[in-house]
Structures are given as structure tokens and as C-alpha cells.
């Protein structure tokens, strides 16, 4: 009678918002205006190791290189980097995907914020917010109907960040992460729901992770 949780094994709950101090008070001055750059494949050798290092920092289970390739190869245009103005080193990064959500009829075009990280030294200056905005803009431009993500229930700064932009908590996911913490699913609706599709929409359990 077991029901495998559709929300996915905690280890494939991908969202990791390491914005723990992203909206907290300033910790130090920013080194001038950061550069925001859209990722492209030619930047891989220069930045992928730093991206991995930044995101893995707070993960107990690091993602394999294939997880990064999975996203960056298909949706590099939805990845944005914040770079240091002087040495162009990586300060923050956001990684997303955008694809039709299969269990809908008609399907919605659903954006998903998979990873967001800001280097500890630069938190508290709105870097994470700026990155999320860039990602939302890019997905909206590509006709996304909605944008979703999960965040750990204990990650209050991340939730505040997203909620300030307009996301709502749609549901709580019990013990979603391997560490036993629960998550919230956050949703930003960019377009009205087609009323005729409402029934399917409500039935959707919003599973991000593929079967």
C-alpha cells in the first residue's frame, strides 16, 4: 500500500536556496556594481567549477556533474551569474529549467528554479533577488505560465525573498529533504489559469521530479 511520494526522493528535491543571509542586514560593502551575465557554453571551463563549488558548499549530497550539465546544456539561457566587477569571479548563480508540465491538460509551461546560491561574503545586498528577477524575466519572456520551486521550511530568508516577489506557498511537503526537514512548494503564477483546465490543475501534485 506504499505510495511513493510523488514529490520525489529527498535527494532529488533539487531546489537549494543557499540564500541564508541574502536578505539579512548588510555584512560588508559590495565591491561596486556587480556584473550580471547570462550563462553560455563557452563560459563552461571558466565558470562551471566555481558554480559547482558555490552550490555544493551547503549541500550534504553534492550533485554529480550530470545534474549541472542536465540544466546548463538544455537551459543555459536560464542560468545567470553575478560576477565580481574587478576580477569577474563568481559571486552568485541561479539555475533554472522551463518545460511543459506533463500532467496537465492542456499542459502549462512551467519554470522551475533549481538552484540559487550567493557567496557568503556578498549576502545581504540583494544579489539573490537580482538573480531571481533575471530568471523570472527570462522565463516570462519565454512564455512561462508559472514558476515553482521548493525551499526548506527552515530557510526563512529564502521564503521571504520569494514571497516579496509574489510567490505563494501552495503546499507543504513532509520530510522532503534527506535531513528530515520539510519543504514548501512556492508558486508564482504569471498567467491566469484556464478555467476549463482547472480540474486537472487542482489535481496536479506538482511533482517536479520525473518518474
Amino acid at each position: 500500500m506504499a505510495t511513493t511520494s510523488t514529490a520525489g526522493h529527498a535527494s532529488i528535491g533539487l531546489e537549494k536556496t543557499t540564500t541564508t543571509a541574502a536578505v539579512a542586514g548588510p555584512l560588508g560593502a559590495l565591491p561596486g556594481e556587480l556584473k550580471y551575465v547570462q550563462y553560455e557554453h563557452s563560459l563552461e571551463s571558466a565558470y562551471l567549477p566555481a558554480i559547482r563549488a558555490l552550490i555544493s558548499k551547503d549541500l550534504s549530497e553534492p550533485y554529480s556533474i550530470y545534474v549541472y550539465r542536465y540544466f546548463l546544456y538544455q537551459w543555459g539561457h536560464l542560468c545567470f551569474m553575478a560576477l565580481h566587477p574587478e576580477d569577474s569571479s563568481l559571486v552568485g548563480v541561479i539555475i533554472c529549467k522551463l518545460e511543459p508540465h506533463a500532467s496537465h491538460s492542456p499542459p502549462t509551461l512551467r519554470g522551475y528554479i533549481a538552484m540559487l546560491a550567493v557567496s557568503a561574503a556578498y549576502r545581504g545586498h540583494g544579489v539573490a533577488t537580482a538573480l531571481v528577477k533575471k530568471a523570472i524575466d527570462a522565463m516570462a519572456q519565454r512564455n512561462a505560465d508559472e514558476i515553482v520551486l521548493e525551499t526548506e521550511e527552515t530557510n526563512v530568508p529564502a521564503m521571504r525573498l520569494y514571497e516579496r516577489l509574489g510567490f505563494l506557498r501552495s503546499k507543504k511537503l513532509h520530510r522532503y529533504y534527506l535531513n528530515g526537514n520539510s519543504a514548501y512548494r512556492l508558486v508564482l503564477l504569471l498567467k491566469r489559469i484556464d478555467p476549463d483546465a482547472a480540474a486537472d490543475f487542482a489535481l496536479d501534485d506538482g511533482d517536479i521530479t520525473p518518474r
Binding site: A7, S42, S64, I65, R169, K172, L173, I193, L203
Partner: protein, 804 residues
């Protein structure tokens, strides 16, 4: 390199270098196995990957995110389960034959208790019990009989094993066997794998082929040995060991009895025993000496799992103790469910049992499911038909011809009763699963309860529609005449001729309750932001108001039928009204205890009618207090928004209307009651025509009414409350309702005072323009800090803002 073979990888030396620990690639490993010829393909592979551009991904269409996440990188210590740090050994070098002091045995057992509890909480065996070297030695290689189930397999012939080994072995036997039973119980009921519990045993057998009685005998024998050595051990130490073994005996006994499912009093006896034993274990915890080296995360490498070793989940003994106490308390209380009285009490039992904070552990929750549903026989002796007919009789059909068992034996097809029996059977077939699913849903974790109910309401929508069709067929068979009744709470006196529709009325009532629970669980699970409170409490009030009026409709028809059955009494004298509170004609709730519009109604002394009216009394009052407190809180929150004491975030990427769509998504498909349009919702929540003073007065009045209602509810006995077997928890809910209402009343008064104080300093300002920030601060508490997790009452602090 990875589990799947669909990839080429880019030629980036930094990332793809699998040899993070050394500059030079190590020599290829010597693979020596029969039938395998090893070939070094490093150079070919490197050359091939060099042909790819950076970032290029070679994959087939079936390579999804799931595979990407599942892929492992060899030589990454966090992914590669065989990756060893320099100088690290693969195996644990702990010797299980080393002598153990009694204090060390206590220490090991206490650590096992902590790990067992972590496992109950949802962590996998790999990070809990299977990190113990004794358990590993006992289970590997898999023992085929009791004798082999030992961490020392080759005892010298005829030698008497060390008594401490005997004790520890007996403990582990009892522990593992009970883990097997717990896993089997959970697997057979509805639960969510990896969310509630991990059933994976990593190909380790938890002694499933070894007889429970044999194990119990081993524990008995070990306890006897302790008894014999008690002088050598000291009494204290002997008792410490004995209690720990006694816990295993008692737990196995609870499992044995639970399978019988009958005789509830004896079922809870071993749980009571465990309760006493646990306190003794708790008190003797200082006697143990920890043996941390007997636990190692490295053992995970031997398990059938691709996961690299993860840290051992380490609960403190105090946390463990709290959880065990709760487990045992719930284990005792769950058996009260056998004191069945009626389906509404049963529902209240499940609702209040599962609403506890913290919620009972998954094992207890599945035990409850087992007791409720095994073999589709409720609580071992009640047919599902009996339950559902009983429920119909209470809610909408006391002493109804449709529920007369005689109908079933009518064989003449032209007899109306033949058709009734047939249609009722169709109805039961249609409704039973949905009805039982409510009980099942509430046995899940709280997040899942809410998610499940969001789906169930659509199911109930169709149950209601199907039931209405049957109602219409049946009213012909019953030759029912429509009656005029006043649509009570709407306040508009427009009597209209209507049929009773008892089956669909029953279904509609459940649908409404489900919808309210979804909203209430939203508060409990902290799904709503402070800025959403006014809207969500308004919607809750809206639903509860509709339920109140729907209950009134059902009651009118019951009253009518009861009058028909006793025509004399109905015309000659007025009887006390069986109803709950009344509602003033303005449409706003008030809990004046006056009579209803049909105070002249009589009710039959027939027990089924008495019971049904009692149900309507408590249900109507409960719906009314929900309506009132929700309405009061909504008005209070709206006032706080207008006073800018709760300020909305900027939310540049969304609009109120899009957020309404998301928030109300579960309710959008429901036709009855229809989701209010966004415009109606906004108008109703913001109440633009009411001044802040009006809003606070509305809030005060509604909250005061709710308080009176909760006070009345808190005094109900178990029969009045339909809370047989769970009155304590039920009353506690009502009392927390009183506290919530008192707190809400205080908040309203504080806001009024703040406004008065601010107005005194700025007499010319309109209320809306007052700067209250210097006089009042508002905090929206977390649900666990509220008196009741469904009633998030804002805390209004009077005084200057603290300068930070």
C-alpha cells in the same frame, strides 16, 4: 564512471578529473576475476571526449533529471561509497568478541534505543540501527535459524557464552524482530515511502524467518541469567539490564496482541507495562557507559544501496525518551478506538487523535488504520454498511424508511421497498469508499492530509451529484411531498417548496467539512502569509456559514418528519428547540441562545431522532463558532492592514488576482459552493464601506459570540459532543478555542486603545491616517505558538517600538 552509459563528457580537466586526491592518475586497478579480461581504455576515452565541445551533452531521450541526479561520480567521497580517504580502511576493525562490561551493554542498548527511535521518525535503517557492529554481525551472513542469529557464530563447543553477550544478543533479537513487525505493519497500510518512513532493509533480513516465541524465550532466558547474577552485577545494574529486556518483551507482546485486534482492554496492557518500564530505563540511563566505537557509518558500504555512507542520525537520550513516552501514550490511547459508540464519535476520535502535536508516529498511525479497516471490517466487528447507515441516520435520516433493513428482504419488484433497497445499495456502493477515505486520509501525515483532501473534495462533488440523482428517484418511491422551509441564515424569508434530498444533503455536508479542513490545515501548516489571513479567515467563515445554513436545512426536514410521525404532539404543544444558536436577520452570526424560527417544532422521543437532534445541536454550534471566530479574525486582520500594522510585501511579479487563483486552486473546480469571484472576495474581505471602528466592533462582537459558543461546547459530555472515547482531546480543542477567542478579544481591545492614544496626539487625523507604529506592534504568531493551530490570533503589543 556512472550508472548509465548514455554520456559523453566534455573535456574539462578540472571537472572531469576523477583523481582528486593525486596529481598523477593512479595505475589502472588490477582486476582479477574469472571470465573478465581488463583493458585500460583511459587514453581512448580521453581522446573520444576531446572531440566534444565544452558543455555538450550526449544523451538519449530517456535520460531525465532523475537519471542525472542518480548518477554518481567515482572518487568523490560524497558520492562514491567505496572511496576511502588516505589511510582509511574499508571495514570496521571492531572485534565483537571483545569482553563487555555490564555498563557497556547498557550503554550500547541505550544508543540502540536512540537509533530505533530515529528510525521510527523516518530515517533509514542504514543511518540508524544498521550502523551497529553487533547487529551487522548478527545479520550477516543471514542467519537461517535462531542459533545462527548471533554476533558470535562460532562459540566453542560446550562453552558457556559470556552472560553479557547473551543479554546483548537477546536484546538485539527482540529489537530486530519488532522492527520487522513494525515494517510489515506500515507496509500493509497507507503511508508515504521515504516521507513517513523508509521500509528499505538493504537486503538484510530482520529475522523474519525466526519465530517470535523462540526470540521471546531467549529474552526470558537472558533475564533469568541477569537474575542469577544480580549480586555480582549489583541490583541497580541487574535491574537496568532487566528493564531493557523487559521493554523488548512488552513491545513484542503489543505486536502479538494487536494482530488479534479484539478485546481492547487486554490490547493496551503491554503498552501500559511499557510505560512503567520506560521510566525505569530513563532513570537508569546514567548507569550506561557509551561504546561509540560499536557504531560506524562505514557499515553502510556493505548494504545493498548505491548511497555513500551518510552520518549516523544521533538523537539525544532525552529526545528519544520524549518520543518513546509519546509513542507509548499513543499506543495506549489508540486502543480506545475500540470503544465504538457511533460513526461520528469514531470520526472525532480519528480527527482529534491525529490533530495532536506532535502527531502520533507512523507506526501508531498505521496501527489505527489496521484497527479501522482490516478485511473491510471496521474495528473487528462492524460492517461498513452498519457504519454508513448509522451515520446517515445520525446526520440526515433518523428512523428513515430508506434505512429500514426490511427493505432488503422484499422480493416483489413492483414493491417500492424493493426499489428503495436497490437504490440504497447503489448509493452505498458509490459513497462508501469516499466515506472511508476520510478516515484513511486523516491517518496520514498532516501535509498529506491537506493535499489528499484537496483531491477528495472533487470526489465528494460527484458523490453529491450522484446522490442527488438517487434522491430524486427515491423521493418518487417514497411519495415525498415538498415542504416549505425558511432558508434560515440567509435572512431572507422566502419559503420555498423543497425536497429533503437526504443522501445528497449528507454528501454535501461532508464536502463542506472537507473544504473547511483544507483551509484550517492551511493555517496549521503555515501555508498562508500574514497578509493572507483576512482573506483566508473570510473564506473559512464563508464556508462555515454555508454549513450552518445547510445543517439548518437538513434539520428542518428531520423536524418535519418527526412531526409527521408524532402529529399530535406537534400541534398541541411546543417543545424545547433541539437546535443550536440562531442567527440574526442581518446575516451576521450571533450566538444568542434564543430559539430558532421553528421554536414550535417538536421532536420525537424516538431515540434515533433524539440522537440526530443532539448531533445537529453540536454540529450547528461548532459550525457557528467557526463562522464567528473566523469572521471576527478576518475583520480584525482587515483593520490591521488598513492601519498599516501589517504591511504587504511589494510583490512586483504578481497581482492580487493571480495570487487568488493560486490560493483558491483546490476550490475552483467545485460547483457547490461556488468559489466567489475575485471581485466579490476582495469586496467582502476589505469591506470598503466599513470604517475601522466598524470593523473592530464587528470583530469584537463576533469574537465574543465565538467565545460563548466554545464555552458551551467545552461543557458537553461525550454523548452530547459525539466524542465517545476521545472527550478529553475534544474538550481540549474547545478550551483552546476559548483561549483563542479571549486572545482575539484582547487584540481587538488593544487596537482600539492604540487608536484612541494615537488620536489623542493627532486629533485632526482620520483613523486610517493615524500613525500607529509608535503605539502598537503586531506579531502574527507561528501556529505552534498559538493556543489553537487553526486560530492564528495576532499578538498586538502596546507601547513604543523598540529601537533596534
Amino acid at each position: 564512471m556512472m550508472a548509465q552509459g548514455e554520456f559523453g563528457v566534455s573535456n574539462d580537466p578540472e571537472i572531469n578529473n576523477p583523481n582528486r586526491f593525486s596529481e598523477q592518475p593512479p595505475p589502472p586497478p588490477m582486476v582479477a576475476s574469472e571470465g573478465i579480461i581488463a583493458t585500460d581504455i583511459t587514453s581512448k576515452f580521453t581522446a573520444a571526449t576531446g572531440a566534444l565541445k565544452p558543455g555538450e551533452l550526449v544523451k538519449d531521450a530517456f535520460f531525465t533529471l532523475f537519471e542525472a541526479v542518480g548518477a554518481l561520480e567515482i572518487m568523490d567521497p560524497k558520492m562514491d561509497s567505496g572511496c576511502l580517504a588516505p589511510g582509511e580502511s574499508l571495514d570496521e576493525d571492531y572485534d565483537v568478541t571483545r569482553p563487555l562490561q555490564p555498563a557497556q551493554v547498557v550503554g550500547i542498548i541505550d544508543q540502540l534505543l536512540c537509533l530505533e527511535m530515529a528510525w521510527h521518525l523516518g530515517y533509514p535503517l542504514s543511518q540508524t540501527l544498521l550502523t551497529n557492529v553487533y547487529i551487522e554481525a548478527m545479520l550477516m551472513p543471514a542467519p537461517t535459524n535462531l542459533r545462527e542469529a548471533d554476533f558470535i557464530r562460532n562459540h566453542a563447543e560446550g562453552a558457556r557464552p559470556d552472560p553479557m553477550f547473551t543479554v546483548l544478543r537477546a536484546y538485539c533479537l527482540g529489537l530486530l524482530k519488532s522492527c520487522w513487525y513494525v515494517t510489515e505493519r506500515i507496509k500493509r497500510e497507507h503511508y508515504y515511502e521515504e516521507e513517513d518512513f523508509v521500509t528499505n532493509t538493504y537486503h538484510r533480513s530482520l529475522l523474519d524467518n525466526i519465530d517470535r516465541n523462540e526470540i521471546s524465550n531467549e529474552i526470558m532466558a537472558a533475564r533469568k541469567i541477569i537474575h542469577q547474577m544480580r549480586h555480582a552485577l549489583t541490583d541497580k545494574m541487574a535491574w537496568a539490564l532487566d528493564f531493557r529486556l523487559g521493554l523488548r518483551t512488552a513491545f513484542l507482546r503489543t505486536i502479538e496482541l494487536s494482530e488479534l485486534r479484539s478485546n481492547p482492554d487486554s490490547l493496551s496492557l503491554p503498552w501500559h507495562h511499557m510505560q512503567g518500564v520506560w521510566e525505569q530505563i530513563h532513570n537508569s540511563r546514567q548507569l550506561g557507559t557509551p561504546v561509540p566505537e560499536a557504531f560506524s557509518p562505514k557499515i553502510q558500504r556493505k548494504l545493498a544501496s548505491t548511497m555513500p555512507p551518510r552520518p549516523i542520525v544521533q538523537l539525544s537520550f532525552e529526545e528519544t525518551s520524549d518520543h518513546f513516552r509519546k509513542l507509548i501514550k499513543d499506543g495506549i490511547e489508540v486502543h480506545e478506538v475500540f470503544k465504538y459508540s457511533d460513526p461520528q464519535s469514531l470520526l472525532n476520535f480519528v480527527l482529534t487523535f491525529q490533530a495532536q502535536k506532535p502527531q502520533p508516529l507512523v507506526y501508531i498511525r498505521t496501527l489505527l488504520q489496521f484497527y479501522l479497516f482490516r478485511d473491510m471490517v471496521i474495528l473487528d466487528n462492524l460492517s461498513i454498511r452498519k457504519i454508513i447507515d448509522d451515520d446517515l441516520a445520525i446526520v440526515s435520516m433518523p428512523k428513515h424508511r430508506l434505512l429500514d433493513p426490511v427493505n432488503d428482504v422484499v422480493e416483489a419488484p413492483h414493491d417500492a421497498r424493493f426499489a428503495m433497497a436497490h437504490q440504497m445499495e447503489l448509493f452505498r456502493q458509490r459513497a462508501t469508499q469516499s466515506y472511508l477515505d476520510i478516515f484513511r486520509a486523516f491517518c496520514q501525515n498532516r501535509c498529506r492530509v491537506r493535499r489528499t483532501l484537496c483531491h477528495s473534495i472533487q470526489d465528494w462533488e460527484t458523490v453529491q451529484m450522484d446522490a442527488e440523482e438517487l434522491d430524486q428517484l427515491l423521493q418518487i418511491q417514497l411519495d415525498e411531498k415538498p415542504i416549505n422551509f425558511e432558508t434560515g441564515s440567509e435572512g431572507v424569508s422566502s419559503p420555498e417548496a423543497a425536497y429533503s434530498l437526504p443522501l445528497s444533503s449528507w454528501a454535501y455536508l461532508y464536502k463542506l467539512r472537507l473544504m473547511e479542513w483544507i483551509v484550517q490545515l492551511g493555517f496549521e501548516l503555515e501555508t498562508y502569509q500574514p497578509i493572507e489571513m483576512a482573506g483566508m479567515y473570510w473564506y473559512l467563515a464563508y464556508l462555515a456559514k454555508i454549513r450552518t445554513s445547510h445543517l439548518g436545512r437538513i434539520r428542518s426536514f428531520i423536524t418535519h418528519r418527526s412531526n409527521e410521525l408524532e402529529p399530535k404532539s406537534s400541534t398541541t404543544r411546543a417543545r424545547p428547540s433541539p437546535s443550536g444558536p440562531s442567527f440574526s436577520s442581518s446575516g451576521s452570526p450571533s450566538s444568542s441562545n434564543g430559539g430558532r424560527s421553528d421554536t414550535t417544532a417538536s421532536f420525537s422521543s424516538e431515540p434515533q431522532f433524539v440522537r440526530s437532534f443532539a448531533y445537529h445541536r453540536v454540529s450547528t454550534l461548532e459550525a457557528a463558532v467557526t463562522w464567528e471566530l473566523a469572521d471576527g479574525l478576518s475583520a480584525l486582520y482587515t483593520a490591521l492592514y488598513r492601519l498599516r500594522l501589517i504591511v504587504p510585501p511589494p510583490r512586483p511579479y504578481s497581482s492580487d488576482s493571480l495570487r487568488y487563483d493560486i490560493r483558491m486552486k483546490p476550490f475552483a473546480p467545485i460547483g457547490l459552493p461556488e468559489l466567489p469571484s475575485f471581485e466579490t472576495f476582495t469586496e467582502q474581505v476589505t469591506r470598503p464601506r466599513k470604517s475601522i471602528g466598524n470593523l473592530l466592533e464587528i470583530a469584537r462582537e463576533a469574537i465574543a459570540g465565538a467565545k460563548m459558543g466554545f464555552e458551551a461546547l467545552s461543557k458537553y459530555n461525550e454523548n452530547e459532543a459525539f466524542a465517545v472515547g476521545c472527550l478529553g482531546r475534544w474538550t481540549e480543542g474547545a478550551k483552546n478555542g476559548i483561549k483563542s477567542a479571549i486572545a482575539a478579544g484582547l487584540a481587538v481591545a488593544a487596537v482600539k486603545n492604540g487608536i484612541a492614544a494615537a488620536a489623542a496626539t493627532a486629533p485632526d487625523e482620520e483613523e486610517e491616517d493615524l500613525d500607529l507604529g509608535n503605539f502598537l506592534q503586531v506579531e502574527v504568531p507561528k501556529p505552534e505558538k498559538a493556543y489553537h493551530k487553526w486560530w492564528i490570533v495576532p499578538k498586538v503589543h502596546v507601547g513604543e517600538k523598540k529601537k533596534t
